[in-house]
Point group: D2
Chain length 423, copies 4
């Protein structure tokens, strides 16, 4: 496969290297897997790896090849039903909670499906007419960002599935992380109130929910200069945090009672010592690393116990303006949040762990979803979700933006979610 | 019982007339009831009337008499457990979903309990020392507003319970409502963008969630001059609104599928004609009256189908500033929304039906709940609820404020909820 | 109302005294009740008293008046739907689990309904033609036995409802019971194997499930001469019976795990002392009284722990042949099992507590249900039920027979059920 | 691996050929499978193939190697927890409903585990001391029968899993079955009443629940000479059988309402034509083949609609006495019931489909389970199960006996279950 476009290729062909890189990275993530690992759905919110591989491919087939490819033939008419996630505009969907009941097409066939679609997309990118090149490029780029989201979900869904196994199998061997002795010295970073702008404006790719850029009115605020650590969170547990209703939202208190939560997901106490299940297997809890796999309820209760609060998403975005986009992303290979570096200024704003904000996920003023089925991407989820910001150790560096709005329900814990205090 | 304070009475005694009026109104609402009607809980969200009567009394006993009355003795030590709703700071609560399993204390005993507490509160108001008069007055006033909220819930819980009965028993005989021929001419009311203030500031009573008053930044917007009517909503139904996923939030679509909703709660089609269960029994649907008993999901889908949206709570409050506080409240005796009057300007902003806003219920900047158990009143519910504004035909005129923030989950339908469009 | 038939009355009129006695006893059971007590359904298996009163009346109206009364008019057409329990042959039924959501017709109206039907039945019994007298008598007699079953259910449903209340209200003041010091000397009563007959044969009333009388083959067996006592059952608890899976049926073990059972229903340990909720309120556990409110699972596990087993229903019936039909029935007024008398021979075979047998409830060889809707009385429940024998302290003396087959699912505990060992 | 015992081998070594044959047949059943097919659990009642392979091996390791092998070392200490099904006497079990959440040990490792245990069992059989040879042989034989039961479950669990897939993948290519034109002429086979013996007596292997052999008293009865066909069952469907409550047990009627059953499991109507999912994929329904995958509820309702009933297990066993043990078992390779042969006498008593009997599963008189954990095999399931007789097209010929008592709950449909009428 060549990625060097010839002289007479379409302008769309400039996307080829990115297309290949993203698609190959999905397969790279699969390298440590056994065939068995592709099939299982460990909870309704998660999906089998097999499904992620097929669904991301279906996305390109349905939204790019079907409208634009010459002599389009579906790879398999059943795939439209089997691998549609939630696009009602496309048609009915195989029930989400039953994705883990299927063994066919097999993993090998799914990889064939990926290759067949890749060849067709590559041909289309090279041969697209000048008329269509823009529209195709936009959709392919959307498809690549979509795939990067699923790469992150593959890691978190896998982690959840492996964690069900009392043998605690590891996904990778892990990279050594050094504790940071200065992690306990939390400092506050101040921003003055005033009218600011947030949201996406330039001509780079962004999701529709980041637009339009608009004025917001902020009051003076301070953000913690780094994420909350395991050690700090342990103090909350040891202070009886999970037994004291005064710190909890009413729904949160119900949740921890009903689901008997007494620590973050994947924490485990054995013979008086705390361990944490990571993608490198069961590990002793590192006190200086950021706490992760907490729900919004836990993040909010922790903040309240400290006498602080969580940031608004507007505050977070404004405060992030001056910072470079670097951090502990998936490319670093840790696949786990790492302790903050010492030094001045805001740290860990990008990467490590998604930061729960106090902002429910709603439409920006003047927001309009894209027309058609592809417009179901973001807008229809604007209810009972909290915004998270900044990306995590499972996010691609090329996927994140300052204006990026991730969202999950308040009780979700299986993503790499963390806590930054505000006041 | 006299409500004229003598010369040497406490300043707190000025609350006596209001105390007596509110408490007596609760009992007036019970006049049409049979003993059987006090006992049943028709769904976990609702409570038996018997419980409402006791719980509102428990509130005064617990938050006023216990700390302030001389030689305080609890009426019955078990009541603290039986009639606590959700105040974790007070102690454990009898399970909410089991409130309808109790027959003792009987209704007669509950009325005795009310009388006994009334006598003690009245004594306390008359005899309160000057030191304590302020604090006592504040708590009693909170208790009265609390009771007014429960008066509204008594009507909506009763309505839900009576609606379960295939005999469709009426609560009252109803008052005739005249249709308004001009109801279909919806007009738009414009407000310019800019910095405004919202929230409570003066020294009148308000809940903590209405504070502090603060600046907000608004963009230009328009509100419909009246509520959406049954006739307009019927057009949505007849256009297949409940079968077309493109208008619905994802959670909303799931809800109408799972619960098989195809019209507002209490609507019933018999032999091709639409009826609506009201507190006056089953009635033919009045096309010019406001649609009510819709969820946020339905309000949002309807607005989307019309190419509009729902108002933000900030927009609603700013637009309401110039209007008097009148409307079809519980005192009018209709106990159902009535058609809008003709004429210019915003109509039905107060009374008739609570208006779903597009705003999730969150804390105002700088919001601090009250200290102690009484602080569990509002703040702990700030998750997965939508704000509603303006009061309904079941709200007391003396209970509502421009700044009043009601809140319910997006799928709640048993309150008198309605739709005002915005754009 | 007169119960003395005149000279020219129908032969059916001889049922009048029994009709009046049974119907009046239902109302006598209601004397201690408050109006509130009639309305509540404390679990799906139980029904509100209000419903029992109406349903037993509906039975006479539907199966006797409708086919036989001159100029029959239904009391209220809605009652056919509201008060049908499970007779599919009659029509649709108001959902069983929602019986506790209705307040109308009120209790007063239900009593009026009873009186109206009583008058019509009495007239019919007096005026029935000779042709129809037999058929009417058979149906009325069935209706009276049906009502006696509901009298027992009224007591057990009431007890379950009162037990939900942390105030533990009493239904009656109770009669003193004297402990029996000799209760611990359990003896065994032997019956030789052979061919016996069981089942109903004479021309007295019996349910269809007791027929036909038929030969059975028994092996030698022994029955305990009295019921298992609370004291004996406590030994099982104290020996860790509820924590040792080896004594339990698989379904039983699942049940006690899931529902967290560790003692009979209504047992309560306070400060190290065992109490039992009775219809006379919370009482200290009497060690010599029979254990009651145990499931089949518990009865079976207890027997296994003792190295014994439960009787077959055939064994029970054969052993009962020589005994008079007396015992602690509802007429004794205890409304609770009482300690066994001392003396030789089988004791407590009738009354006190229904005795779980090891026999699943199945059809006797050649069993045929009655034709029509009334045939739904017994046969359609012959799946996943265990047979119980002998009646209880809540059964009418005139209701029980040696051949009487009661049946409940293996996990039912709210009836007065007890244990007799066999080996 | 050699299966020829040398001169000085233990008497236990005579089991070697059978051991190897049964264990290899398990693996033969796996030949058509993809790795993905081993992992999934499509409902709580089913188990992943991976789990069946490991659990049957665990059985030999736990009940044979652990007590008898020299220098016993567990293959992996975690397996005792992971692969115990329900033996409380052995210890805690990994939750049944979560068996499909595990991917490790992988399928390859499970096959290694099988081989390792096979080697040790083979060694033990050859080297067992004369003292222990008997006890070891008994346990190994139990283990082989246990494995044969799991072979049948592997096929039915696989079928259920494949049926979830809208692609309807086939397990095997199928063998052609010829319709039998005389299938509709059902004849009746008569047996006279009297005292007979049933149950296991000789020194061949049998489960404990088949003992002791004992006298039973039968009345005259007739059995249909063959199984009910698809064509006959279709008449029941077309006569509105699933819409007429008068044919159904009460629990059965609830089940078909709640689960919306209107035909046997795996039947599918497409464009007016009936199809049936088989292990050879989706096939047109063969009217002369036996109906299969019906619940007890459906079998009972069908029999009632025909004016007949289902056989008692005692009747079935007595009538089977004169017949040879042949039939359409797993070895025939059809893996589906086939039409009855023409000719006189009882047909299809063995093989094709398990026959629901009217007998609840209970203990024979004098039944005693084996001591210890292995005694949990049968006795603890004697509640809410119906007995089935005769084996199916998925049963091994060497596994079945006349006295064999299979049992499933009344609503189970995923086994090859069928209907034989009686009267």
């Amino acid at each position: 496969m060549t990625s060097v476009p010839a002289a007479d290729t379409s302008p769309a062909a400039s996307l080829l290297p990115k297309y290949e890189a993203v698609r190959q990275f999905t397969q790279k993530l699969c390298e440590p897997l056994e065939t068995e690992d592709y099939v299982i759905q460990s909870m309704p919110d998660a999906s089998p790896i097999r499904w992620h591989l097929a669904h991301t491919t279906w996305f390109f087939e349905t939204f790019v090849l079907k409208p634009f490819a010459k002599h389009f033939q579906p790879s398999n008419p059943a795939f439209e039903y089997l691998f549609n996630s939630y696009y009602n505009g496309i048609g009915e969907q195989f029930p989400r909670a039953k994705r883990g009941l299927l063994t066919r097409p097999t993993v090998a066939k799914v990889f064939e499906y990926r290759r067949a679609v890749d060849r067709k997309i590559e041909t289309l990118l090279v041969e697209a007419s000048n008329d269509q090149a823009d529209e195709i490029s936009t959709l392919v780029e959307l498809g690549l960002h979509h795939e990067q989201q699923h790469q992150e979900l593959m890691l978190t869904d896998l982690k959840h599935m492996l964690a069900q196994n009392p043998l605690f199998p590891a996904y990778h061997s892990g990279k050594e992380v050094f504790a940071n002795d200065s992690a306990n010295d939390l400092a506050w970073h101040t921003t003055d109130g005033g009218i600011y702008q947030i949201g996406h404006s330039n001509d780079q790719f962004a999701y529709d929910n980041e637009t339009p850029r608009h004025d917001v009115l902020l009051h003076d605020f301070q953000l913690a200069d780094r994420l909350t650590t395991n050690g700090e969170y342990l103090e909350f547990i040891e202070a009886g945090g999970y037994q004291r209703p005064e710190f909890w939202l009413s729904l949160g208190w119900n949740t921890i009672q009903n689901d008997q939560w007494d620590s973050p997901l994947y924490w485990l106490k054995r013979d008086g010592t705390w361990f944490e299940f990571t993608l490198a297997g069961l590990q002793p809890l590192e006190p200086t690393a950021p706490v992760t796999h907490v729900s919004y309820f836990e993040a909010d209760a922790y903040a309240r116990w400290r006498g602080n609060r969580l940031p608004l998403e507007t505050e977070w975005e404004v405060a992030s303006e001056s910072l470079p986009l670097g951090g502990n992303f998936v490319e670093s290979g840790y696949l786990h949040p790492t302790p903050a570096q010492s030094g001045e200024g805001l740290k860990q704003m990008f990467g490590d762990a998604w930061e729960w904000t106090a902002s429910p996920y709603t439409a920006y003023p003047g927001y309009k979803p894209v027309e058609g089925a592809i417009g179901e991407y973001n807008g229809k989820f604007m209810c009972n979700q909290q915004v998270l910001r900044g990306g995590s150790c499972a996010t691609s560096a090329s996927h994140i933006r300052r204006t990026y709005r991730n969202f999950f329900p308040a009780d979700a814990r299986w993503q790499f979610t963390g806590i930054r205090l505000a006041r």
